[in-house]
Amino acid sequence: MNIDKKIADDLVANDISFVTTVPCKQLAGVIAEIDQRDDIFHIPSNKEDEGMGLCAGAWMGGKRPAIIMQNTAIGVTINTLATLIQYYRMPLPMLISYRGELREPVACQVEMAVHTKALLAQLNIPTYHFHHRSDVEELDNILKYTFMCNKPVAILTDANFWGGYGDQ
């Protein structure tokens, strides 16, 4: 199974046609896959809160959005999640590279990893953690759930899920 292709297929199958990204090495493959899809408009952001603004506008314009980013972005976007996405009740699937977990080579990444789930829990954001490759089978249901409840939903994908950091 090509995991990048599977993720892009699930996005398209759920009518997600507007995707913004801030890169992470673990996400490079899926970002490249999304960039070449004709049925997805890919708009890179300079910062994740900017990306959430783009997604909010796209959704109000009639398109289903998604954001792809690193877990460090939770530190950047708490205000935007609370006062824009949640306050106006908007759906937003967040596919997140969960740096600082098992098989992480960069120590500093652990410093945000230890806060990631606590921050998401504090925000009452439904959170899923993909650790094994087969966990991706849940993505389709998570996307359906996100647009059912009109909430931001976090999908944390760690290095083990991606096959080891930089080992892909």
Binding site: F18, K47, E50, G53, L54, G57, A58, G61, Y88
Partner: protein
């Protein structure tokens, strides 16, 4: 002229258009001057009006006017390259540049000192950038709508706020009626 005087003057142009309005006193002023279902008021999230408007413009064909401020653009400067590199011809970004953070007590911004937002927009790659004085705003805005070309307007005006009530409308109501207006 101060921002509220500009908004009063351009209200007839804004009335039939989709408008995304910046957080704080700008939204309170627009709401008090001419509340419309086609107005999306930001109640929080400093800096993101231009991004919300761009996402909206890229996702549907109607013109979108963003009413933003110099302080808000400075908060989210990465927006200018994103706008420049993802051209939406139905997108107009009106930066009302009064050189101050109006909603927090008129503290000066760098745009009122050495920094030129119109030059920054040009350097970011935006192609149609027009700087004007406050009194010219209505004409420049109408020309931008008629041009059907992505336009960044920097309207230089004086610092100051009108005394307007806080918006008490529920955010989900603001969003829902706006989405219905988008689809209408």
């Amino acid at each position: 002229m101060i921002r509220s005087e500009i908004l009063k003057e351009i209200a007839p142009i804004l009335r039939d258009q989709l408008v995304v309005c910046n957080i704080g006193i700008p939204s309170q002023e627009l709401h008090a001057i001419d509340d419309q279902p086609t107005n999306f008021y930001m109640l929080g999230t400093m800096g993101l009006a231009s991004s919300i408007g761009l996402g909206l413009a890229l996702s549907q064909p109607k013109p979108v006017i963003v009413i933003d401020g110099d302080g808000s653009i400075l908060t989210n400067l990465g927006t200018l390259p994103t706008i420049a590199n993802n051209v939406a011809e139905n997108y107009i970004l009106l930066i009302i540049d009064n050189g101050s953070y109006g909603s927090t007590g008129d503290q000066p911004t760098y745009a009122g000192r050495k920094t030129s937002l119109s030059k920054m927009a040009q350097a970011a790659g935006c192609e149609r950038v027009i700087e004007c004085n406050a009194a010219e705003t209505g004409r420049v805005l109408q020309e931008a709508l008629d041009a059907k070309q992505m336009t960044i307007i920097v309207s230089k005006c004086e610092s100051g706020n009108a005394k307007m009530p806080v918006i008490t409308m529920d955010p989900v109501v603001i969003r829902d009626r706006f989405m219905k207006a988008v689809q209408a």
